[in-house]
């Protein structure tokens, strides 16, 4: 009952505070971006660089074959790379540009300066060998994607041969999903809106109360400090749920699993608000906490960044506690692995129990501060 009253009062206070409107405003802005600014479909042309290290007659045969293909337009172009002018053959198809370099050196130079993968095809023991020149930071997924794209693209390469046996190949087509930009962006927006904002906002609520000395006053009532904390969290969960659904419903309608979406939203905002609460317990006011909050926000945002920049996906990102949030939103909006979402939610709930015990301990210890 005390929880209920505290919750109602916290909601009232939130509605009167400007942080609530920041959160709401941000959700609306994100929604507008998704609905009106972001194109519904991907239209980015893919660039690929290729060098065929085969005897000249074979190369000529292949080039001739490609040039006569109706969906490919061939032309000779000159590309600048590291101060050099390199002449290459460009084959342009639907959503794809294939550059044929004249030497292995040219290819490497081009791949480096254009920051795109390059492929060298050569012959060894009567078999085609594919050497991939990567930038060194692409994820396995990207590697696989490129291989798969090559396989489906020209038709002159055999996927089975192209792929080393230990590497699993996934192509977008076989998963049956083609990402639109909207679908790409919404998971990140959900994450930013709920999680990143959530941590900042709950800390702000606590600092408002600290400024007014409210926690002390609460502590000498017959209610528990954990009720106070729980009511704060519940408020954050409510606003996160509300703003997230505001984002998802207009874009996806009934196409997503709302049960799982609500589950992961509740679990992840519980987790993130506890982090916010714990951070806030160590500081007197928001200015003093700003450094650490800012640092955490940046750190926690990295998984979203890695998601937005496919070629940057270092392994350690996966150990960040917010990584499964981004992944879960992706699963819900795009891919549909609900088991992952369920497990991630369970993980957050489990971690939250520990964090809650600790937060309660921290707040009981620092009542008079």
């Amino acid at each position: 009952m005390k929880f209920f009253y505290s919750y109602i009062k916290e909601m009232q206070l939130a509605a009167k505070s400007f942080y609530f409107y920041i959160e709401l405003g941000m959700a609306v802005v994100l929604l507008i971006i998704v609905l009106f600014v972001v194109p519904k479909n991907f239209s980015k042309t893919q660039k690929q660089f290729l060098f065929i290290d085969l005897p000249a007659p074979m190369v000529q045969m292949m080039v001739a074959g490609m040039s006569s293909s109706p969906d490919l337009q061939a032309e000779d172009v000159v590309l600048k790379s590291k101060g050099q002018k390199l002449s290459v053959k460009l084959f342009q198809g639907k959503g794809k540009k294939l550059y044929l370099a004249e030497s292995r050196e040219d290819l490497i130079s081009l791949a480096e300066s254009q920051r795109q993968p390059g492929v060298v095809v050569s012959l060894a023991d009567g078999q085609l060998v594919y050497d991939y020149y990567m930038q060194g930071y692409e994820s396995q997924k990207v590697v696989n994607l490129i291989k798969a794209a090559h396989a489906q693209g020209g038709g002159f390469m055999d996927l089975k041969q192209a792929v080393a046996p230990q590497i699993e190949v996934k192509s977008l087509e076989t998963e049956g999903v083609i990402l639109s930009d909207r679908e790409n962006l919404v998971p990140v927006f959900l994450f930013l809106n709920g999680c990143i904002m959530g941590m900042f906002i709950i800390a702000s609520y606590i600092f408002l109360d600290k400024g007014e000395g409210i926690i002390k006053a609460y502590a000498i009532t017959a209610s528990h400090i954990w009720v106070y904390l729980a009511s704060k969290i519940a408020v954050l969960q409510t606003t996160t749920l509300f703003t997230s659904l505001l984002l998802v419903i207009p874009v996806f309608g009934l196409k997503v699993n709302y049960l799982m979406l609500i589950l992961i939203l509740l679990a992840s905002s519980l987790f993130i608000s506890l982090i916010g609460l714990i951070v806030a317990s160590f500081y007197q006011n928001i200015l003093k906490a700003f450094g650490i909050l800012f640092g955490l926000i940046i750190l926690f945002m990295l998984p979203a960044l890695a998601y937005m920049i496919p070629s940057w996906d270092p392994l350690w990102i996966r150990y960040l506690p917010t990584y499964p949030m981004v992944e879960s939103f992706k699963e819900i909006v795009v891919r549909g692995d609900m088991l992952y979402v369920g497990l991630a939610s369970l993980g957050y709930l489990g971690a939250s129990i520990l964090l809650f015990v600790f937060a309660n301990f921290r707040y009981r210890k620092t009542l008079a501060v």
Partner: protein, 284 residues
């Protein structure tokens, strides 16, 4: 009602103590004054007694329970008015009280009645954020009475209030005490302490210098003084003489003999005079 033994508290957990080895008892039904200059450790002590600060050293029992094992139910019996008012500035005066009332398990007093009591009856619907300092202070004070506490902690209840309102607050404290409420009153206002307290403790630098009733203290320390106004060549002059010290007595006789007396009053030493005498320190 309260028993404190060898209480020590250091905020930095080192050897500088805000409260340094104090012991005292507060009896049920009394108004116990905790007096001392700023920084003496009054609020710190009160913080420990109410469970806001964790007990580091010593033994403290409040209303029959060890503060270390304080149950939340205890707070149904305790009221506390804070030194710095702490109310939700975004809620109205009445909303503030109504919300807090819900956090107790016992029957609570009507919020309107309490607001009337502290002279905020007509401000019930105004947001506390728009209140003056004194009004917020009164709201905090009123809130401490919500649960009809049997043990009432008051930290500087009259500081910053105008004299008329301070007098009202004093009256409220007395009324509550007459109904049986035990009061732990922290203040550096000696007049209030003198008028209200059954017993007072003088605390300086985290240590209690003395505990006694104001009446006893005055008997013990308060020499009788005589304030004499007499006529001299250049107008009238006021002088205070001790009736005990020999030099003063002699001089008093001289004045009476040689001058025309305008007025002559006996004057008791104030609690403040005694505080200065005992602790060697002023109060502000």
């Amino acid at each position: 009602m309260i028993s404190v033994e060898n209480l020590k508290h250091s905020y930095k957990k080192n050897s500088t103590f805000a409260v340094n080895d104090i012991s005292f008892d507060v009896k049920e039904g009394e108004i116990f004054g905790f007096l001392g200059p700023s920084g003496a450790g009054k609020s710190t002590t009160q913080g420990i007694l109410t469970g806001l600060l964790q007990l580091q050293h010593g033994k403290v029992e409040v209303a029959g329970s060890d503060v270390k094992k304080f149950k939340n139910k205890m707070y149904n019996k305790i009221g506390m008015s804070f030194e710095q008012s702490n109310v939700y500035s975004k809620l109205s005066a009445k909303e503030n009280l109504d919300f807090y009332a819900k956090l107790f398990d016992v029957k609570t007093r009507s919020s309107m009645e309490l607001l009337e009591l502290v002279g905020l009856g007509d401000k019930a619907k105004i947001r506390a954020g728009e209140f003056s300092k004194g009004m917020k202070h009164r709201l905090t004070f009123a809130r401490s009475l919500l649960n009809n506490p049997s043990l009432w902690f008051l930290d500087e209840p009259t500081t910053g209030l105008d004299p008329a309102i301070a007098a009202d607050i004093k009256k409220i404290i007395r009324t509550e005490n007459q109904r049986g409420v035990t009061v732990f009153l922290t203040t550096h206002n000696m007049q209030i302490a003198d008028q209200l307290c059954d017993r007072v403790a003088f605390i300086v630098d985290g240590q209690i210098k003395l505990i006694d009733s104001p009446k006893n203290l005055k008997l013990q320390y308060g020499e009788k003084l005589v304030e004499v106004e007499y006529q001299t060549n250049d107008g009238s002059k006021k002088e205070i003489f001790s009736t005990i010290e020999a030099a003063d007595k002699k001089r008093l006789i001289e004045v009476i003999d040689s001058s025309q007396i305008v007025t002559m009053h006996t004057k008791e030493a104030t609690l403040e005079d005694i505080f200065i005498k005992v602790t060697g320190r002023g109060l502000s």
